[in-house]
Symmetry: C2
Subunit: 353 residues, 2 copies
């Protein structure tokens, strides 16, 4: 089956490009001397995690206990839940059930959350990493508060393994280098403070595809990029991937044509609605680099550009933020050399808790 | 099980409020003398469609053949696919398979699409409505081109039943009344032109929850609102629903607290990422009307406001655009008087083609 015969919209992964992305970043991490623990929330697909682990990843990163459950079920043995999980009895039971089969670490960013986690998980063997705010100002404590939280965690019967941060402020024009600097600086500060307070610091974990190429290696012992496996329009626009490194596209059909625009049968229910303030559109077309998705609704995308295809023709849409696209579909089509060679189930789709 | 014991994030539907919304709009349509054909893309839940039909809806509206398949499977017998469907052989076969069990109409907005549909469906009994652009400038032809498209459809062996429009430009401050005027005017113009050209015009169909309350009834024979069953932050901000008419919320837990903000465990993977230029945030809290979700990522929402709940407490988030929320989850919890009374499967989730 060649691509133009597929029903659209369809989420399509180019296996060759994906494999090259997996290899490239594994080598980069090796050259830099940092462990690679890719964030699998980007793809939610066990087959891709297996490729990453085979290429040398030390384990995986997830965002939720639900994602951890899926990947442990599929064989993952070393999982970091990079999130300040608030435990309930039910959620702690779910985590405890994983500990027979995997090393599991979770995030913590307050003494209260540490005490709460300890009520359910004291002595269970779960590790915690203190989340540090390196400038994104989302969750995480300021570097000066890391020891206080770590001591609360230790006091609650949890094993403190180190610290982590997510430099989300790396997503923007010219933002990656300064954010990478903040990231490494915050981790170095946290590491020094923890060691001074008597903690053994096994892990100082940084994140993000944009900050991956940072040449400043002091601080992080591991990195947690996610998007690099697929690329997306955000990374393309920010210069963190090239067009020929984009492995995931959404095949769409032109269903309506007008002198100033064409309309595609892919909207926010398959492309996601992420649009950063600096983005030039709601997405782009891989084969028409000057085109932009100027408007999007649930099942329509309005495309403006030159030389656009006509009614009934198909295009490859590059979504703005690929992590939210994969979470919208139950499976992706795997293509190689323009032919469909299989389907992968998005096994952790919708595992938000 | 009371709500605070639920694992979060959880999508929760208040059955009493939902039922009141269904009844209120059914009565409104009856008073105005227009048929009600609710758009079920908002909820994708057969149980809710059944409530709408029981309250007097003449049929349902869907966006895709895939949605039509799910609702016909669950008993719908009168379905309008309000979309300019571009048919392939496979898609035409799927539509044809529905025609034994349901009256089905589809949209068309060009002579080329009409000819294409006719190649596969000539004489099959499917009805078409010509889509008119009433000012949203997405799909649809200008009112002056309606007859040309209708004649192409008739020439291709399709049964022309009338015209439809979606006044999407009604979504904005003070935009509903002028957009409703455009909607009714476009439908009236289309109806007159079609009748003059010898077509029997059974249906002139308008849309949208914002334009629902338009007092100008000339033009439309039916209306296709969707969001009214649930309400959302967009409708709340635009004054098209009150806080006590919001039937769907996302229960979330405060997982991180800071002097200037709290962080919830609900992000774009359960709330969606829709944010119109005029919106005051990425969503709101039902019980804290002054609070705003000022930032959102996949599993975090940053909330700013006064008197916010603390670590471990739960809140009810009102998402900006409810249609995209339901499409993210496999089921919703149904509550009445604060108790969970069941779960509904989002049977048409992800049916984008």
């Amino acid at each position: 089956m060649s691509l133009p015969e597929l029903e659209t919209p369809a989420v399509v992964v180019d296996a060759d490009i994906l494999e090259r992305n997996v290899t490239r970043v594994a080598l980069l991490a090796r050259e830099r001397g940092v462990a690679l623990r890719p964030h699998v929330k980007t793809h939610k697909i066990p087959e891709i995690a297996a490729l990453q682990l085979a290429a040398g990843a030390v384990g995986i990163t997830v965002a939720t206990i639900g994602e951890a459950e899926v990947f442990v079920e599929h064989g993952a043995t070393d999982v970091f839940v990079a999130y300040p999980v608030w435990f309930t009895a039910a959620r702690a039971d779910r985590l405890r059930a994983l500990l027979d089969r995997a090393r599991v670490a979770v995030g913590v960013d307050s003494a209260e959350a540490a005490a709460n986690a300890g009520r359910f998980l004291s002595g269970a063997g779960v590790e915690v990493l203190v989340e540090v705010d390196s400038g994104h100002h989302r969750s995480g404590v300021l570097p000066g508060d890391v020891v206080r939280v770590a001591e609360a965690a230790r006091g609650a019967g949890l094993r403190v393994a180190g610290a982590f941060t997510f430099p989300g402020h790396a997503y923007g024009p010219d933002a990656a280098a300064p954010a990478a600097h903040h990231e490494r600086e915050a981790l170095a500060t946290a590491g020094t403070a923890l060691r001074s307070a008597g903690f053994q610091v096994a892990v100082l974990s940084g994140g993000s595809t944009p900050s991956l190429a940072a040449t400043e290696d002091d601080g992080a012992t591991e990195v947690r990029p996610g998007v690099y496996v697929f690329g997306d329009a955000q990374q393309w626009e920010l210069g963190h991937c090239a067009a020929d490194e984009i492995a995931l596209t959404v095949l769409a059909t032109v269903v309506s044509a007008h002198p100033d625009r064409v309309i595609l049968d892919a909207g926010s229910k398959v492309l996601g609605a992420d649009r950063a303030a600096w983005a030039t559109g709601h997405g782009r077309l891989l084969d028409h680099p000057d085109a932009r998705l100027t408007a999007i609704s649930e099942h329509h995308a309005t495309v403006v550009g030159t030389g656009l295809p006509g009614l009934g023709e198909t295009v490859r849409v590059v979504p703005n933020h690929v992590c939210t696209v994969v979470n919208l579909v139950d499976e992706v089509l795997v293509v190689r050399d323009g032919k469909v060679e299989g389907r992968w189930s998005v096994a952790a789709r919708g595992r938000n808790s």
